[in-house]
Symmetry: C2
Subunit: 414 residues, 2 copies
């Protein structure tokens, strides 16, 4: 099937999905969830094939773990779909409405984006997850997964399509690009006629490729070089607890802390406590000269370290003169994701919130909270680090757009 055929079918599906009400959509989500569980043996069989090939190719076991499905993981996928049922359907909401002096009634109505393209890497659970979010918001989706997961993705998509068909809904609400080569991916990125938006989900390399090659509007997600700044008047115990949590509670995620800035007046008090806690958890600290001088176990950092997203038990650390230097450093090296200050000072907290450029800025809390579930959205398609359309965790509303609907009775423009 050519990409163009997928595009044409997605556009047709878009029109059909517009006509589904929430009750019907929820019925489908439940049926798909049931179908995934009922067909778990077939999905696991396909997944075993992917895992076998991956191991043959020498994939590391930590990546194999991301690729591998289990009975339990399939149940989680199904539960993810079920959880969407309870969420309010954002489609059709009137955001603003007014009557103009000439009697025109102008309303701004929430509508689906249309056709969403999602390019992702090896985790096959994204397949069901992305479908659920797009379907709940009446969007058609074209998925392009990685070659590593192709058998799993085909099996999952096949079950979803079958269940949609069973419910009397067009299976083209979800389509998979089965050709996993890079040229096809690039062509997909330029299908402006058929795609309303493209969302890459994966590592920094994938996201950069999509941003650089796509003519379709992209929502950039993901990379997070997140900082915690310990101000001169921080609560030291709170600082250590938050730094520990943000660095070690889970390391491979975009909202983990990667870099520490410490005010010079508090560094001698706070750094020993931080080192004790983090070294105890086998975190490597790469510090500037000042940090290294205070603790011999700290490894010297290079300029490159300030921009790194380690996604590992590594943390960079630097001593700063004052709040201004901290803000300037963060705005220079961050990826506009999540940034935190630990302080007791009212004015410093205010300035940090105002002047640091990021999707989420925290006072006295862990950066690990930047997440659609933690923010109470009930779902998440990713975390936008760009400024257009959506910024921060994206839930259902971020998969919608608006249209102006205007009721007149013969108005013409004078």
């Amino acid at each position: 099937m050519t990409l163009e055929t997928l595009g044409i079918q997605a556009k047709q599906a878009e029109r059909e999905l517009l006509k589904l009400n929430s009750t019907k959509k929820n019925e489908c989500l439940r049926a798909v969830a049931d179908g995934l569980v009922a067909e778990s043996e077939a999905i696991l069989k396909a997944n075993r094939e992917d895992v076998r090939i991956a191991r043959e190719k020498g994939m590391t076991e930590s990546l194999v773990d991301r690729l591998a499905l289990t009975e339990q993981r399939i149940h989680s996928m199904a539960e993810g779909l079920i959880s969407l049922i309870a969420l309010e359907d954002p489609i059709g909401e009137i955001l603003e409405a007014k009557i103009r002096p000439n009697g025109l009634e102008i309303g701004k109505k929430r509508v689906p984006l249309g056709v969403i393209g999602i390019i992702y890497e090896s985790r096959p659970n994204v397949t069901a997850d992305a479908f659920g979010l797009c379907f709940k918001t009446s969007n058609a989706v074209i998925l392009k997964g990685g070659s590593d997961a192709i058998h799993s993705n085909k099996a999952i998509v096949s079950v979803i399509r079958h269940m949609l068909d069973f419910c009397g809904v067009t299976p083209d609400a979800i389509q998979l690009v089965e050709d996993t080569n890079r040229e096809t991916a690039k062509k997909l990125m330029q299908m402006n006629e058929y795609l309303d938006v493209l969302i890459p989900r994966g590592g920094a390399g994938l996201i950069r490729t999509v941003v650089e090659n796509s003519t379709v509007p992209v929502i950039e997600t993901g990379t997070g070089n997140c900082h915690i700044y310990v101000d001169d008047c921080a609560d030291i115990e709170m600082a250590v607890n938050i730094i520990d949590n943000a660095k070690t509670q889970r390391t491979g995620v975009c909202n983990a802390c990667e870099s520490l800035l410490i005010h010079k007046d508090i560094v001698e008090q706070v750094l020993p406590a931080i080192c004790e806690r983090l070294f105890g958890k086998h975190v490597e600290i790469r510090g500037d000269e000042n940090c290294c001088r205070l603790n011999g176990q700290i490894v010297p950092a290079t300029e490159e370290d300030w921009g790194r997203e380690y996604l590992d038990y590594i943390l960079s650390a630097k001593v700063v003169e004052n709040l201004d230097e901290a803000i300037a450093h963060i705005n220079k090296y961050n990826t506009k994701h999540s940034e935190a200050i630990i302080t007791k000072d009212y004015e410093h907290a205010r300035r940090f919130l105002d002047e640091v450029d990021a999707a989420a800025v925290y006072v006295n809390a862990s950066t690990r909270f930047t997440d659609g579930f933690e923010f109470g959205f009930g779902a998440e398609i990713g975390i936008s680090t760009q400024k257009l359309h959506a910024r921060g965790p994206m839930g259902l509303k971020e998969l919608t757009t608006t249209k102006y609907i205007i009721y007149g009775n013969g108005q013409i423009r004078p």
Copy 2:
């Protein structure tokens, strides 16, 4: 000055602009407006140079008219800036705020986009206009105008920068790319490090070039192949008045009507009245076979006509079987701008509003109302025909983004 220098300076200006409150910004807008009027002689002199060169190059008089400034037009530019003073400053607005069960207070705050790039064509008034909208929303702007207007643009930007400096505000809030060649424009479109968004303002060719070449997020504006569909149960007099208005009140604009669809059951009654009115105003009608059969003065349309944005006294016309065909035709050929149905039928009105894919969909009113001022925004930077970030007329709010600000007291993620 290299583009990179402009970028670095714009980023610095972005930080400074964040600190200006509304009172200060309004003071600057007034000073700039006064400055433009006071320096009108210098601006007019520069503009005469542009006009002289344009005429030498053989520019048509209608294009020269768009390029030429007058004392009156400079006053209009100044008034445009003054009118922004009265508008509410959207920056700092809290859109949502909530307390999570763990005590975290999460607010969603409206903030500037940062640095906005605007690429535009020959009208020099866009220079002051775009500055005003960006400045009111605390954004720095990098302008790239056309070569035709370079002397005028330099003169206008020079006055604005001088007045900002006079007010104690960084003149780098507005910068002009003085090199007008295409390679520079392409480089600007890939300055992701410095530009948060790029807005092209001009004809279809310019917009396509920007969409195809830009890696910076783009807000697509402008082209409008707008339709009016006359339903079988339309008020004929209303239909004729609206069609006349949408076609002839101003032809060179994106919200003018370019194509007419008429239900087969009403065409014999309504087409003669439409022809009488439009032919009386020297509009050429290009019709399908059915239209041509009913009036010998109608010129046969080609397939290409259905997709044309004439921006002229030309209208395409086609007879359709029913509402379904009208909706399908519009969704196939439109540019997602503005579409109208003339009907007395409740269900047809509803279906048209729901199923036509466009930024603005009208029942019984002229498409000419799709405009920031007509919608009551008090200002307009353009009309977005894409679905991400902004759709339809863009006012001040559309030049902003949001950031999550989170107040904690030591929360860590369990």
